[in-house]
């Protein structure tokens, strides 16, 4: 059999994370393959969102937290002292549970961060708006109302705008923390469809409570429980014949 060398964009090595004295993650070692969708599942409080936020140093913003172990992004430890977290967050974008557009126009939602980062001239920024909105499959719906407030959009449109906003920074990785939990089924289906197209250019890591969603959209799934990565495997294996009984109990609804 020919073994194909996999290209891992992010690798975590033995990561522990503490909120004060509380250990939220222990010994998490996991590799995220480039241009694939990886889903992180597990009950509330299992540490999956904590891990997600560690991947672009979002937890830096919380006082009294401490991370141990290594998180390598393209081989470089993102927690090394010489690393600029702002640069990391440009390369590794994030989309949150609730759509959180800025209370600005649709246009300015996209251009805000690139301008702040000093990317491109006005022509380039113009092109960036169209490109990002097209990638997020929102362009046709908003191209004539770009100056309107983002707050006038529907929840599903707002979430796609947030994805477009993340794409505008031309990241390599997009982290999604339950991106569809506040959306109706049609908007959810649109986001899932979008994720499927985005993975050609980006690596996507998604936290979801919806196990069918994990099964539908991801290539890999990791199951977390009490701060530990219990099982990590290709999604099909996890959902048809997981190796660990605990994983099976969780995905079949026999938990607790």
């Amino acid at each position: 059999m020919v073994t194909v060398e996999k290209d891992f964009i992010i690798r975590t090595k033995n990561v522990d994370f503490f909120y004060g004295a509380f250990r939220a993650l222990s010994g998490v070692t996991v590799d995220f393959e480039k241009n694939k969708v990886t889903a992180l599942i597990g009950p509330s409080g299992c540490g999956k969102s904590t891990l997600l936020r560690l991947l672009n140093r979002m937890n830096d913003l919380i006082d009294g937290t401490r991370v141990e172990g290594e998180i390598l992004f393209e081989g470089r430890n993102i927690y090394a002292p010489d690393v600029d977290p702002v640069e990391i967050r440009q390369r590794i974008g994030m989309v949150f549970q609730k759509p959180n557009p800025f209370p600005k126009s649709i246009y300015n939602n996209i251009t805000y961060a690139p301008r702040l980062a000093g990317i491109g001239n006005s022509e380039e920024i113009e092109a960036l708006v169209e490109e990002s909105l097209k990638q997020a499959v929102l362009w046709d719906e908003v191209k004539d109302i770009l100056s309107k407030s983002a707050m006038t959009l529907s929840g599903g449109q707002q979430q796609r705008l947030c994805i477009a906003r993340a794409l505008a920074m031309k990241p390599d990785v997009i982290l999604m923390d339950e991106p569809t939990s506040a959306l109706d089924p049609i908007s959810t289906a649109k986001i899932e469809e979008l994720i499927d197209t985005l993975k050609k250019r980006y690596t996507i890591i998604i936290v979801t409570h919806n196990m069918q969603q994990a099964a539908r959209i991801s290539e890999y799934t990791g199951f977390f429980y009490l701060g530990k990565l219990i099982e990590f495997n290709v999604t099909e294996k996890i959902f048809t014949n997981p190796d660990v009984k605990h994983t099976e109990d969780y995905i079949t609804g026999r938990f607790g």
Binding site: Q212, T240, D249
Partner: protein, 229 residues
């Protein structure tokens, strides 16, 4: 394996209902087979006709069970072991329904045979019936207990039935060569023997599915000797 219960009791109940339904269906087919053997040995055509009639019940239970499985697939989106159980159940109910058909076929042949002179005492056929019944029972026990060892045993027993079927065939061949007037009776007996051999194949099919259900690995179309791994 230690079993945790579903958070949804209703789901748990629905799964149990399918399990119970399969066992009941299995018991009905086993009974049809046993009574078929009795009808043959006692030359009892009234009993044989009853068996033919009762196959309808097996058919409708099969349809009912399959519908329940499809309903669960649609409404509960089962995963992992539940998914494997439900897909296995759909296949098992199909196997049991075919076993019922075979039992009814046997009963039909018995009715014809009972109007013809008996050419020899039946020895191998009742043995095949006993082994076949045992295989059905064991394969379903293996399902309930998730017992791979028992399922493998069923697979091995299929060989015994195959050998008996060959033996019956050879024996009847000599009868037919010796006396062409016995050909008609011999052909019907051969058909019964063939049906019993098919029944064992279906029981083996159930055992194969049980192994898949427990391990997630398919052993179908592989000989019993080569199933390790």
């Amino acid at each position: 394996m230690e079993d945790k219960r579903h958070t949804s009791r209703e789901y748990e109940r629905e799964l149990q209902e399918i399990r119970d339904g399969l066992l009941y269906l299995g018991a009905l087919t086993e009974r049809a087979l046993e009574r078929g053997s009795q009808a043959l040995l006692e030359r009892n055509s009234v009993l044989a006709r009853e068996i033919v009639r009762e196959d309808e019940q097996i058919d409708s239970l099969d349809v009912d069970l399959e519908e329940k499985c499809i309903r669960l697939l649609a409404l509960r989106q089962p995963a992992a072991r539940d998914l494997r159980f439900i897909t296995t159940a759909i296949k098992i109910t199909g196997h049991l329904e075919r076993i019922g058909d075979m039992a009814a076929n046997i009963a039909e042949k018995v009715i014809i045979l009972n109007d013809l002179p008996q050419i020899k005492p039946y020895i191998d056929l009742p043995r095949m019936v006993e082994i076949g019944r045992g295989m059905i029972r064991k394969s379903l026990d293996a399902m309930v207990r998730e017992d791979i060892g028992l399922a493998k045993k069923v697979r091995e027993e299929d060989t015994v039935i195959d050998q008996l079927n060959d033996q019956v065939f050879r024996e009847l061949l000599t009868f037919m060569m010796e006396d062409p007037r016995k050909i008609q009776v011999c052909l019907y007996i051969m058909q019964i023997s063939k049906s019993l051999e098919r029944i064992a194949d279906h029981a083996e099919g159930i055992a194969d599915m049980v192994i898949y259900m427990v391990t997630g690995k398919s052993v179908r179309h592989k000989p019993a000797s080569a199933e390790n791994g």
